[in-house]
């Protein structure tokens, strides 16, 4: 029996088994940011410890950075302090810091891949649950807590229990207007928000094979929303083509040698899996959430569920979600009025996300009652989008084009919902209060669906609003 990628990467990075039966595993790459890491440097200091592998550690700021103006000092004193603590801790410890205006700053899960720091076969960790994004390159990429950030800073290793591996085959061809975001929302909706607990997800099948790296990142990004600790795609020619020529990727013959090694991590054709799930591309429709977890989602052609079809706790959960969202049972999801439209985040804040929207919105206008913002995931994405003139297309349509950051994905910076506003959002979490107002309501969807909602002023089907075929999306 062959091995799957998870097993191969695990075996290569294993240090030893501990007395408790758990394992100590080496981390090839440690990414840190201002929210969950400054405290870890404090813990290190308390124990008079140093960073063990500063060269394998990289820092950026993303969560708290404002996206309208980034002049220092920031208006929020605590936000300013968090950047300063991170900046001085990285300097003290010899860690490279992609500071604002350095040209390389951005959301940590956008920055790692675009610089080529993220490479196949690596173990990657970061104090952020969407670290699963990096799995798109064929990595074991894990979100960790601050005490574990401390452990990795001090030892470059983590205590781990091996995960089971579930292969998710997505076969067929996605219909026009169905995107990587719909694939991931569909998987979560099908397997449940805790269906992946104890598993790493290996995504494969013809749909994944045909996806670009950016699309694969969108899928892997939301593995965590399905309860899986991480998700990955086996490295292939698409992966190598993406990496070739990136700043931190070896060049020339070193690149060819690297490709050979990277390729060897891909799951063997006779690899063993703990579980296999088959999903047919034909079943996937543009998908949007109606509730307060990413699993509470429905096809754009569908209706909000009826709690009376369920009993027990499930009924209560649907009832609670409908009350919070101010929706009624059986109401069509299409037509729900929105106040805010947000395109960005580590799920959908990459160049191709903005390209696909720009291709369809030119000549259209955001509805007058809607506040629409587009937030590039990094300074590099911003630069490249501007070079293509995308920012102008967005601005002409009535979007604000912002500076890079996490923005409205979570409420740690000035971009927030107010009162019970409804936001059509390309981010990854629709939890109660996630976008900054304790009453704010989030509806997750793909970037082109956000654009459709922005233009209509209500949740709409992008396939009806835009000429997708003509735009070549």
């Amino acid at each position: 029996m062959g091995l799957n990628l998870y097993q191969k990467v695990w075996n290569d990075h294993l240090v030893r088994q501990l007395d408790t039966g758990q394992y100590q595993v080496f981390m090839a790459l440690h990414l840190i940011h201002e929210v969950t890491s400054p405290q870890a440097f404090g813990m290190l200091k308390d124990k008079s410890l140093k960073v063990a592998f500063p060269d394998r550690t990289f820092a950026t700021v993303d969560h708290i950075i404002p996206t309208d103006k980034q002049e220092r000092p920031l208006a929020d004193d605590m936000a300013e302090k968090m950047i300063q603590v991170l900046s001085s801790a990285t300097k003290e410890n010899g860690i490279e810091f992609f500071a604002p205006k350095s040209g390389a700053q951005g959301i940590v899960h956008v920055v790692g891949p675009e610089l080529g720091l993220t490479q196949p076969g690596m173990t990657i960790c970061c104090g952020d649950s969407h670290t699963s994004t990096h799995g798109a390159f064929g990595c074991i990429a894990l979100g960790i807590g601050t005490s574990q950030v401390r452990d990795v800073l001090a030892s470059q290793t983590l205590v781990m229990d091996p995960l089971k591996v579930r292969r998710i085959n997505i076969q067929g061809t996605l219909a026009l207007g169905v995107t990587a975001k719909d694939v991931t929302l569909h998987i979560i909706r099908t397997l449940g928000v805790n269906g992946g607990v104890g598993f790493a997800y290996e995504y494969g099948g013809s749909v994944i094979d045909q996806m670009s790296m950016e699309e694969r990142m969108t899928v892997c990004n939301m593995s965590i929303e399905g309860g899986a600790r991480c998700g990955y795609v086996n490295p292939d020619q698409t992966t190598f083509d993406y990496l070739k020529g990136r700043e931190r990727v070896p060049a020339g013959t070193d690149f060819l040698a690297a490709v050979e090694r990277w390729r060897s991590y891909a799951s063997d054709s006779d690899a063993d899996y703990d579980d296999v799930v088959d999903i047919s591309a034909e079943d996937i429709k543009p998908t949007v959430t109606w509730g307060v977890t990413p699993g509470q989602a429905v096809s754009i052609e569908g209706c909000v569920p009826d709690p009376n079809d369920k009993d027990g706790l499930e009924k209560t959960l649907i009832n609670d979600a409908l009350t919070y969202m101010k929706l009624s049972a059986n109401q069509p999801i299409k037509g729900i009025k929105i106040d805010v439209a947000f395109i960005g985040s580590c799920t959908n804040g990459r160049l191709s996300d903005f390209q696909s929207v720009a291709a369809v919105i030119s000549g259209k206008k955001v509805a007058p009652n809607v506040r629409a913002i587009a937030v590039p995931g990094s300074e590099k994405v911003d630069r490249e989008a501007r070079e293509l003139g995308l920012h102008e297309v967005f601005e002409e349509a009535g979007f604000e084009w912002r500076l890079p950051g996490c923005s409205m994905c979570l409420a740690m910076n000035p971009d927030k919902l107010v009162g019970d506003e409804v936001c059509a959002s390309s981010s990854n979490r629709n939890f109660i209060g996630r976008q900054g107002s304790p009453k704010g309501r989030t509806i997750l969807m793909s970037p082109i669906m956000v654009a459709a909602a922005a233009i209509e002023g209500f949740v709409a089907d992008a396939r009806e609003v835009f000429d997708l075929e003509g735009a070549g999306v």
């Binding site: 039966g21 080496f26 090839a28 969950t36 605590m78 005490s147 290793t157 205590v159 979570l410 996630r434």
Partner: protein, 198 residues
């Protein structure tokens, strides 16, 4: 080693109902602007407990007879969502010493373990019985016995489960793994060298 062994936890419980309680709800994102965890206790479940004017909504955690409860009980997939350690830190600093649920999200579970807060798994039937007991009698004491994997509450005994490796780590005080990890520096360097990361 890292701390003291944790074998038994005694205290009163409080039941916070709900599946899929995420860490955004446990600690809203605006409380994450901090450079230490010291002040997080009062912000636990803030938006569930208080309205926009900071007035209490009469949440069970704020009922006077529950003050000082040591054991938090909830339902399935507790602690899902963001990996923020701020969530277990807030739970710990609020005064809880253990969490009982039907299941836990993995990152949350790992974070709690390192902090010395056992995440105890209890099946739906037993948990709903225990929550009823606790809800009816705020003064009721219980004991979580990690060695015997059971909870004794009043005259009842409930079975619990825990990941074996985690249970052992609590019993031999190795739940904070840093010292253990640092003990194998040579092996770590060897792996790094073999992989070409050095």
């Amino acid at each position: 080693m890292s701390g003291v062994a944790i074998r038994k936890i005694n205290g009163r419980g409080v039941y916070v109902e709900g599946n899929d309680i995420d860490t955004d709800r446990i600690i809203p994102a605006r409380y994450l602007t901090c450079v230490t965890f010291d002040e997080l206790g009062p912000a636990l479940f803030y938006d569930v407990r208080f309205d926009e004017h900071g007035r209490s909504k009469g949440h069970v955690l704020d009922s006077p007879e529950r003050a000082g409860a040591e054991i938090l009980i909830s339902d399935n997939n507790f602690g899902c969502g963001s990996s923020r350690e701020h969530a277990p830190q807030a739970i710990m600093r609020f005064g809880f010493k253990a969490v009982i649920a039907g299941s836990f999200a993995e990152i949350f579970h790992g974070n709690c373990t390192t902090l010395g807060i056992p995440c105890v798994v209890m099946d739906d039937d037993h948990r709903s019985e225990l929550s009823k007991l606790v809800t009816n009698d705020p003064a009721l004491d219980m004991m979580i016995d990690i060695e015997q994997l059971q909870i004794i509450c009043g005259n009842q005994v409930f079975p619990i489960t825990m990941k074996e490796s985690v249970r052992e780590a609590f019993l031999d005080a190795t739940y904070d793994p840093l010292d253990t990890l640092l003990a194998s520096g040579d092996k770590v360097n060897a792996v790094a060298e073999k992989l070409g990361y050095l």
